[in-house]
Symmetry: C2
Subunit: 343 residues, 2 copies
């Protein structure tokens, strides 16, 4: 039997990532939008052949009046595909208010927390999410427009830890063709529509503009570029981790890097190591490329020991003769940073 | 004395690159356009303080009727600044016809060949070219639109070999302000106007569009991103060079890579090594990311030895049990590649 092309693409992606292994369970994030419906359908049609189990997980973000309808249509789809469905509810607004990172970020955090909870409860090994090649292209543009900052341009990877993205090489057009072919219904962006203004502007305005005025194949070419950058960044990140393992330590709760070793590392590796150190010692929120550069410049300079560099969010960096020291700045003086490090 | 801000920026850039050392000569590429006029002026005003000599070099591309006028205004400027001027003439159309790479590429090659000739004749150590932060931003967008391909997105670096770019952190706006301040005249894009349609569309259409619709600081943020990517790419490239030194050899004129070592290298490094190998064995013209990926995939696959992959431009790659072999494909059979390797 010849597989439908989208199913074949998902099959290739699963084999390339080695996820899920035979006999194991994969949790599929299901919003009810076109991408996740197609992904669930493809995984459901592969489960027997590849010997894995599929559980769908839908989170009601509680952001719109009709959001309970989304759960109902997910339930209907799962009955039709004979897939178990787990439904959760979150208060995204409350989290956004608490963390002051915006609705989109709060929604993403709630979603992944929910998916990880379901994964654990189901004894699953992997979480499959439905990012497509178009999402990859849009993400690259978004990061480029925002100024890359501390996170770089690198795209999403087909697998990162327990998260796999089997649609990353599939275009939105192919997703829609597959749904039509299979007679499957979906909702337009049910959970995301009002969350991601900027992304929607990139999707509906910038990408079509670039396609028409500059390069009709821009989606594919951006996605390829994102993948290449992801590999380069991942390589540099790996080396930065090795560097940190060799030169970082905690002392009185502060996070210290051996200054000479940091200064002598290749620029790209040193920069990535500084980012990772900042992520571990207080997180990367509001840290930009300019701060990373500043730390590296002072670490390399013959700056007098005792020099301090303030960072956003009440931290500062102290440059001693031997160390670069990340500390929390307080009104009462200088105190240790706690390790939060979440991204 | 406080230096004008553009001169101070050039001074900082020269100190950061260590070029030119005291007592040495720098050749400045002078088109007569705003950027190169400002660069020449800045270098001329720094030469005494920093103890170097400046020679200007203007190439008449012979593409427009009035191109000799450009040389005349360059001569006038150089007299005013008391800088020696060397003028050359090139037949860019003939080169473009011969090499079939387009006028812009032919012009760039003629220009650098001319600058290197002047550098040698003047016993100079460095060539200064006038790329600005805006050029850096535009280059990133151009590469992104074209699909990055084999060359990646990485931006221009402040120094590469004997070429330095002292204006890379300076915006075009600052250049124009400096020229007004100093009462210096320039010509609008005298040598480039008709060469770089695509670049001009990016400059006059895409950048203003992004600035207005998405991010007013897009120029600075693109330039910063380009610089970060340049560092990452340069790091990966360095490792790829080390890898090649360990696993590449020439044999019967073919270029061979030890297959197992290539297959086991980190993806980013392996990819860069393949690019470099292709560049050395026949050049990178018409080679895209898809070819590099294909070679890496087959090197890693358990492909039967004897498998062949054709490349654009009459080359092919042969996968033997132990080696990945780059060869020239001919009508009469398979023959060695010559090493051209120019980019």
């Amino acid at each position: 039997v010849r597989l439908p092309s989208l199913v074949a693409a998902v099959d290739r992606a699963l084999r390339a990532t080695g996820m899920p292994p035979r006999g194991q369970t994969v949790v599929v994030g299901l919003s009810g939008g076109a991408d996740s419906v197609a992904l669930l359908d493809a995984l459901a049609s592969l489960r027997r052949r590849r010997g894995f189990r599929v559980v769908a997980a839908h989170l009601d973000h509680g952001l719109r009046a009709g959001s309970a309808d989304d759960a109902a249509s997910c339930a209907e789809l799962c009955r039709a595909l004979d897939v178990a469905l787990r439904v959760g509810r979150a208060d995204v607004r409350a989290r956004a208010a608490r963390e002051r990172g915006g609705l989109e970020q709060a929604a993403r955090r709630e979603r992944y927390a929910f998916l990880r909870r379901v994964r654990e409860e189901e004894g699953a090994v992997a979480i499959a999410v439905a990012h497509t090649r178009d999402d990859q292209a849009e993400t690259l543009l978004l990061r480029l427009l925002r100024g890359a900052g501390a996170t770089g341009l690198a795209g999403m990877r087909p697998r990162r830890g327990d998260v796999v993205r089997p649609l990353l090489a599939v275009s939105r057009r192919e997703v829609l063709a597959h749904l039509r072919e299979r007679g499957l219904a979906w909702k337009e962006d049910p959970s995301n529509a009002d969350l991601a203004h900027r992304r929607n502007r990139v999707r509906h305005e910038l990408v079509p503009y670039l396609e028409e005025r500059f390069n009709p194949g821009i989606r594919a070419s951006l996605a390829r570029t994102a993948a290449v950058l992801a590999e380069e960044a991942s390589h540099v990140r790996g080396e930065a981790e090795e560097l940190l393992a060799a030169i970082a330590r905690e002392e009185d709760g502060a996070f210290l890097l051996r200054r000479s070793a940091l200064a002598e590392a290749p620029t790209a590796v040193a920069r990535a190591a500084i980012r990772q150190a900042l992520a571990r010692a207080g997180g990367l929120a509001r840290v930009g490329a300019v701060h990373v550069e500043g730390i590296l410049r002072l670490a390399r300079a013959k700056a007098p020991s005792g020099r301090r560099l303030p960072l956003p969010g009440g931290r500062e960096v102290l440059f001693t003769r031997d160390d670069v020291r990340l500390e929390r700045r307080t009104r009462r003086g200088t105190e240790a940073v706690s390790s939060r490090g979440e991204r």
